[in-house]
């Protein structure tokens, strides 16, 4: 017996947009059996996992808080992915962005003023960009795969943050806990709705998503990115530099990840701590692909991922679902999405080798 992978004649546009829906359905179905296997009531757990987070207004506001950084990061990543620039290290760039913003917040701890938050945003963006510049330099100068370097630098970033919050930046009145002082009001992102945790960063995120759409659909740089990704030789012919595209993609996605980190520490967290996010930088990769690298699709898939975070917490409380279930769900979703994508372009045939050879 012999398996053969053959390309299909043509994948239709409808199939391309149907695969995310199919992937979600398969994930839910697998989740059902997973919960059954864990000895839980599958229907009830799924309800808590997927429906409960969306039942209240506060629930939706919390989804916005979670979806915000995911969409912000994924918007940047998606642009790079179009150019075949695979930035897997958004988590690290987010961390360095948070360090930059936190540094400003702490440096001007005694000051007040409307200028502090914008300065923090700037520092966050620069922090993320500088950190993404390392893989960009290694890629353009030495052809080192940005997949490996950006990913590995993530772990370095966590350690850098650790040095700071365990060391020089530790709160002097914090009973030796590894965390910085709480930021002052001037260094916190203002809330856009009282009684929720929704902050100004969500507005910025929406603007960025729309901006990303305009860039990709209407500008020469968006065209350049698509050409570099689809046909590198045609890009060279058109006079588009691959190296410049690599730099642009990595700096943009790094900067946006850094901005997301800024809004996390200036928003829900309010200080620097050793672990800033539940893996937003990695989850954003799934968000980008699930949203078909399209800015509007990314907003939708960002909410779906936010549901998996918040629903996972609810199911932890209500059904004693292990915390790892959220990660398993997200992983399954990416797995099914890639599988569906692959099978929409190729088909697998069983062939008997002996039968066809002479």
């Amino acid at each position: 017996m012999w398996f053969k992978v053959e390309p299909r004649q043509e994948a239709s546009q409808a199939v391309i947009y149907a695969t995310p829906v199919l992937a979600v359905a398969l994930t839910v179905a697998s989740g059902y059996f997973l919960f059954l296997f864990l000895g839980l009531a599958p229907a009830k757990t799924l309800y808590h996992f997927l429906i409960s987070p969306t039942l209240t207004f506060y629930g939706w506001s919390e989804l916005c808080v979670k979806a915000g950084p995911l969409v912000l990061i994924a918007s940047g990543l998606a642009i790079g992915f179009r150019a075949n620039v695979w930035n897997i290290g958004a988590e690290g760039q987010l961390t360095l962005g948070a360090v930059g913003a936190g540094g400003i917040a702490l440096a001007f701890w005694n000051e007040t003023g409307l200028w502090i938050l914008p300065l923090m945003c700037l520092a966050g963006i620069v922090g993320g960009m500088l950190y993404a510049a390392i893989p960009a330099f290694l890629k353009t100068r030495y052809e080192v795969s940005e997949i490996l370097t950006s990913l590995m630098l993530t772990y370095v970033a966590t350690l850098i943050l650790g040095i700071l919050v365990y060391g020089p930046w530790r709160d002097p009145l914090g009973f030796n806990f590894p965390q910085t002082r709480m930021f002052t009001d001037s260094a916190l992102a203002p809330l856009i709705l009282e009684g929720t945790r929704m902050h100004i960063g969500i507005v910025v995120t929406l603007a960025v998503a729309v901006g990303a759409w305009v860039v990709m659909a209407r500008t020469v740089i968006g065209f350049q990115i698509k050409v570099v990704g689809l046909a590198p030789a045609a890009a060279r012919f058109a006079g588009f530099s691959r190296n410049r595209t690599v730099w642009f993609s990595l700096l943009l996605s790094g900067g946006l990840a850094g901005l997301a980190g800024t809004f996390e520490v200036a928003g829900p967290i309010g200080q620097l701590v050793p672990h800033l996010t539940p893996g937003y930088g990695f989850t954003a990769i799934i968000v980008a692909f699930l949203g078909r690298l399209h800015p509007l699709g990314i907003i939708a898939s960002g909410f779906l991922m936010a549901i998996s975070y918040n629903g996972g917490e609810i199911a932890q409380v209500e059904d004693r679902l292990p915390q790892a279930a959220t990660g398993v769900f997200q992983g399954m979703l990416l797995f099914y999405l890639l599988a569906c994508d692959f099978l929409s372009r190729y088909r697998i045939r069983m062939a008997q080798r002996e039968a066809t050879s002479s």
Binding site: V220, F237, A238
Partner: protein
């Protein structure tokens, strides 16, 4: 010799194949007798490739029947086709550069014997058919003609009863073509049928016993090429009166517009060719040809001229006296140098994008299709529509994807995209490669008109006939060096053929052939 009264080796009955809305083959029937050299003629998009893929088992027909020696067969894979005795030599070779001839052949066989025995068989077969080949040589050291031999020998090892050859001579020197024909005639005499696909009518007249002409997916005629005139076959193929291509009057003014001055370039590719001391001048309104066998530095030269590779020495290329050697492709375009690369899909055009979007690749600045970094999509659509109209491109419209166009139509679109920009200099590589006669005539005419308006044109082509028709002067590139330019009117095919082989190259090849044989046997 072939005998047409016997049971045909291969008979096709009402073969049809549809791709979504396009009917590629529509009730095609013809038969190939044992030992017959059968030409399959047709424009690009006539359905030749689809038909050949069906015969070789790459595609399956929707309707119709294939008879092999009178028996119906289902050829559902190339494996099955080879088991049946069908061999195919593709236009583009599939060889691994860094591996030896022997390893490549072993990889391509369904049931390879052990390497020692295989090497012996390769030598036997290659000697028998006059295709000298050393099993131990690595592919990247071989000329294109020798590589084709590898592909042919690979087929012959399977003792084929039908050999399909897809445009086999487009990469060969005239001398190599002669040698190939000797082999094919020998095969035919031994009873092997040959299905020969080509657009070079003279070759078909020289070689083939019978020709089937396809147009729009149907058989539109059959003829005996020995009797039918080349002109008659071309008209059958296009279905319209063929425009007589008249050579325009030679250019009198030689005021140099493009000067290439001792251009040196080291290749950045593992098996690339270094360009050595290349110098030539092209005058206002002159068409300058660069001939040569594929893989002698044409790609490298085309990229260096277009600016895809920039040079250290700015003055190595001068346009109207201004040095541009250091500039990239888009900056050179802004100075007036446009180009058409050889590869249509993925290089000259992005197949996944619409024709309108594809105009942005080269015309975004020169034709004002983008302003302040924003794409003016309406202007791009209008420009694409203008190209489609002026060059009679068969396409759904400016929003059609480039991938949906046939090779000839896409080439007309690409050439039109550059020509309508009225550049000062146009560098065009393989302008009519794999393009049907109608489209080729249209492209040549466009080049003539462009030259008349004062553009200096460089045509890099492997098609000698084409160069002899369109150019005023030409030079031959061999192993990265360029011969002195000769006036096309005074050039003879033999003279150019010898330059193409490179006198030095010919000698070594002959010597190696001899040595190889004595070494291995």
């Amino acid at each position: 010799m072939h005998d047409e009264r016997r049971t045909p080796r291969l008979a096709l009955h009402e073969i049809s194949k549809r791709f979504q809305t396009v009917v590629a083959n529509d009730g095609i029937s013809f038969s190939v007798a044992p030992g017959q050299v059968h030409a399959l003629l047709g424009e690009n998009g006539a359905g030749k490739s689809t038909l050949v893929k069906i015969i070789y088992g790459v595609l399956q027909a929707d309707e119709g029947q294939i008879l092999w020696d009178g028996q119906p067969v289902a050829i559902d894979s190339p494996h099955r086709a080879r088991a049946q005795g069908i061999g195919m030599v593709f236009q583009h070779f599939s060889l691994f550069e860094a591996m030896t001839v022997l390893e490549n052949i072993a990889l391509g066989l369904d049931n390879a014997p052990d390497l020692k025995a295989l090497a012996d068989r390769i030598v036997t077969v290659s000697q028998k058919y006059g295709l000298p080949l050393d099993p131990g040589r690595e592919i990247h050291t071989l000329s294109v003609g020798e590589r084709q031999r590898v592909e042919i020998v690979r087929c012959l090892l399977q003792n084929p009863k039908l050999l399909i050859m897809d445009e086999p001579t487009s990469v060969l020197t005239p001398q190599e073509v002669e040698r190939l024909f000797v082999t094919l005639r020998q095969l035919s005499d031994e009873g092997c049928s040959i299905l020969y696909i080509s657009h070079k009518l003279q070759e078909i007249k020289d070689l083939c016993h019978h020709a089937t002409v396809l147009r729009g997916g149907r058989v539109v005629g059959e003829c005996d090429p020995a009797v039918e005139t080349a002109r008659g076959m071309a008209q059958l193929m296009i279905g319209a009166e063929l425009k007589q291509l008249t050579r325009r009057a030679a250019v009198t003014s030689r005021e140099p517009r493009l000067i290439v001055d001792t251009l040196e370039l080291r290749s950045n590719q593992p098996f690339g060719i270094d360009l050595k001391c290349i110098s030539f001048e092209v005058g206002v309104g002159e068409i300058f040809g660069i001939a040569g066998v594929a893989g002698n530095g044409q790609n490298e030269l085309a990229q260096a001229l277009a600016g895809e590779v920039t040079l250290r020495q700015p003055s190595a290329i001068r346009l109207d006296g201004k040095p541009i050697g250091h500039l990239g492709a888009e900056k050179r375009r802004m100075k007036g140098l446009c180009s058409v690369p050889e590869e249509r899909t993925g290089h000259a055009a992005v197949p996944e994008m619409s024709l309108a979007t594809n105009t942005l690749l080269t015309a975004r600045n020169r034709m004002g299709l983008a302003a302040q970094g924003f794409i003016q999509i309406r202007d791009a659509r209008n420009y694409a529509a203008r190209i489609i109209r002026d060059f009679a491109v068969k396409a759904g419209g400016p929003n059609s994807n480039a991938a949906t166009l046939s090779g000839g139509n896409l080439q007309k679109f690409i050439v039109g995209r550059e020509v309508l920009q009225s550049p000062e200099v146009l560098v065009i590589a393989q302008p009519t490669w794999g393009v049907d006669a109608g489209a080729a005539a249209a492209i040549h005419e466009a080049l003539f008109r462009l030259a008349q308006s004062g553009t200096a044109i460089v045509v890099i082509s492997q098609d000698l006939d084409e160069l002899l028709v369109v150019t005023d002067r030409l030079a031959v590139i061999n192993m990265g060096t360029l011969s002195p330019a000769i006036d096309t009117a005074e050039a003879s095919i033999e003279q150019i053929g010898l330059l193409m082989g490179g006198l030095h190259g010919m000698e070594t090849e002959a010597r190696l052939d001899h040595e190889d044989m004595s070494n291995v046997v």
